[in-house]
């Protein structure tokens, strides 16, 4: 066995946690959208990429910094999401769920193709905001401030989302509408508007992950295309029945991926898919899933 420096181990663990943050934000958005709309949003990776591009444009075209982008980019991309829901997804109600997958797959191709036409495939740099540059020396490892911020902030957003859905009145409406939309409408709640906003919210979470990723991964049109497939595997592993489950699975799989990079780097691309296969053998409905 190779001798490990704790330095390498902890830095890979941190990278794992960061990827885990993105997995958690994206799979959370997928789960929220699936709960309300019963579709799997294939365009999620494209919206994640749009979030990063949005931050890039806000900085380079309008001189608006990272902190503004953190709020404005998710709002703008979320707005695009609501338009998509109103004009297209909305019309698929009552059809087989697979049509939602096919439609959003088409959208993903359109969005990604357009961005690739205009920006090629190379990455555009996005600087770390000045307040978060530098690093802390913790003795056993050097912790870059920005990376610590990404993990803490993502975890906070995930928990806030969980709190909103599971512990507030709005969340109660949402959960009720997931179970029985007709009945909730009968109580005078505007369910179609709620569905639109839910889609917008899920998409905004993806865009937020994109903004967070911009300084770490560079901004490129293809940043979402392979990422979304891994997130799908995360969703299969966790099952979409539980909000907290999605969050935990996302972070845990990021860490597992990071550890694989240390111990058996050849498998780091595939480890999540292997975990998925094992989970399917042992608990087909997913770790936190219910039903089929």
């Amino acid at each position: 066995m190779v001798t490990l420096s704790p330095q390498a181990l902890f830095s890979q663990l941190l990278i794992g946690l960061i990827n885990g943050s993105f997995y958690a934000l994206l799979s959370l958005g997928l789960a929220v959208i699936f709960g309300m709309l019963n579709i799997i949003n294939f365009a999620h990776g494209a919206f994640y990429m749009m979030g990063a591009f949005c931050a890039y444009f806000l900085l380079h075209a309008f001189g608006l910094n990272y902190w503004v982008a953190l709020v404005v980019a998710p709002l703008m991309v979320g707005l695009v999401g609501t338009v998509v829901e109103r004009t297209m997804l909305h019309r698929l109600a009552g059809l087989d769920h697979l049509y939602g997958l096919l439609l959003t797959f088409g959208l993903a191709l359109i969005i990604q193709g357009l961005f690739q036409n205009y920006f090629g495939s190379s990455g555009l740099p996005y600087a770390i905001p000045s307040q978060l540059t530098g690093a802390q020396n913790l003795g056993f490892m050097v912790l870059p401030n920005y990376r610590a911020w990404v993990v803490v902030f993502s975890a906070a957003v995930c928990l806030a989302t969980w709190f909103m859905i599971e512990r507030t009145r709005l969340g109660a409406y949402l959960r009720a509408a997931t179970e029985n939309p007709e009945l909730v409408r009968a109580f005078g709640i505007n369910v179609p508007r709620m569905i639109t906003l839910t889609y917008g919210f899920g998409v905004a979470l993806a865009a937020l992950a994109g903004v967070l990723a911009a300084p770490i991964l560079q901004v490129r049109p293809t940043m979402g295309e392979n990422f979304i497939i891994v997130v799908f595997a995360v969703v299969v592993i966790g099952g979409m029945g539980s909000i907290l489950g999605s969050i935990l699975t996302g972070f845990a799989l990021g860490v597992i991926e990071g550890l694989t990079k240390v111990f058996y780097p050849e498998a780091s691309n595939t480890v999540i898919f292997v975990v998925m296969a094992i989970v399917l053998l042992i608990k087909p409905q997913g770790l936190f899933g219910r039903g089929t």
């Binding site: 059809l95 096919l102 088409g106 191709l109 193709g113 089929t292």
Partner: protein, 322 residues
């Protein structure tokens, strides 16, 4: 059980409609005459993808399973046949046989895992497993990573027919395609195919009638994977190369698009869809990513306004199966 099977078979036989015979005659005549009008390499690529789409349609159209990772069978089979022909020096029929076997075995493993879930999860699982196979092909030494396997010798089919001659290659491709097409047609209209359709319509009921739905689904999945492998193996021999594109998710998406555009669950739709999509690719090959944008737009248009597909609409208009 045996009695039921026979009566189902008779129902099936009665459904071989005149419209389908006519369409088949048109298809054969068209494909025999086509090399006089079109560039043969384009036609052969079209035939490979048509076979691939028909194999995919066997699952989505007749079992209701959307596999979003069919490129793994197509691409892996392409690598296997290219490797067998080039490195092991096997004859093309043996290389193809190995390719089909490899795809079938992979189909067994993937199918075994994926049929544990249904609907949307099935699609996500097949996509994820296909991505795993993609990374395997990216890293495994025999695929030569980004370079792929190039300059695959075409060899002599059965030791007699020299596939390096254009018309022999086209004839062979056509025969393989038509045989597989007829096989798929027979599968769809066999008692086995009727049970698949029953499972698609109402799985619980099929189970209550005593059919082991999972086993039927797995069998259909393996058949579909093997036929997709045949298409991939053919493509490697025709184009003399196998590359990562064949096994990437974009190829999985393209086969979905071909089938959707032609008509899900129609016999002839995937063929029409495949030729159209390949034609669009060739026509726009110099236009960068516009191919991707247009494919995406076709997806959106098909789902929103045109869910029966071209042949599906036609069949609906003339009120006969196609």
């Amino acid at each position: 059980m045996a009695k039921t099977d026979r009566s189902v078979a008779r129902d099936g036989d009665e459904r071989i409609a005149g419209s389908e015979r006519t369409a088949f005659a048109v298809l054969v005549a068209g494909l025999v005459l086509a090399p006089f009008f079109f560039y043969p390499p384009f036609l052969m690529e079209g035939l490979c993808f048509a076979l691939f789409a028909c194999a995919f349609n066997l699952l989505i159209g007749y079992v209701g399973l959307l596999s979003f990772g069919h490129a793994m069978f197509f691409g892996l089979a392409a690598y296997v046949s290219a490797h067998a022909a080039k490195v092991w020096g096997l004859q093309p029929e043996l290389a193809l046989g190995l390719a089909v076997a490899a795809a079938g075995v992979l189909g067994l493993v993937v199918g075994f895992l994926a049929i544990r879930r249904q609907g949307i999860y099935f699609a996500m699982i097949t996509l994820a497993l296909a991505q795993m196979i993609y990374f395997f092909c990216l890293q495994a030494p025999f695929t030569h990573g980004e370079d792929g396997i190039q300059a695959v010798p075409q060899g002599k089919l059965l030791g007699l027919f020299d596939l390096a001659k254009a018309w022999v290659l086209y004839g062979t491709t056509l025969v393989v395609f038509l045989s597989a097409f007829v096989l798929i047609y027979r599968i769809i209209h066999s008692p086995f195919g009727e049970i698949l359709k029953a499972i698609r319509e109402n799985e619980t009921r099929a189970i209550s009638l005593g059919y082991n739905a999972e086993r039927y689904k797995l069998a259909a999945f393996i058949l579909s994977a093997g036929l997709a492998g045949l298409a991939g193996g053919m493509k490697a021999i025709i184009q003399q190369s196998a590359s990562l594109t064949d096994v990437y998710w974009t190829t999985s998406g393209e086969v979905v698009l071909m089938t959707l555009l032609g008509g899900l669950g129609t016999v002839f739709g995937p063929v029409v869809g495949a030729f159209l999509v390949v034609a669009i690719q060739q026509y726009l090959s110099q236009q960068g990513q516009w191919v991707t944008v247009i494919q995406g737009a076709i997806f959106v248009a098909c789902v929103l306004a045109f869910r029966r597909g071209i042949i599906g609409e036609l069949a609906h208009t003339i009120r006969k199966p196609l």
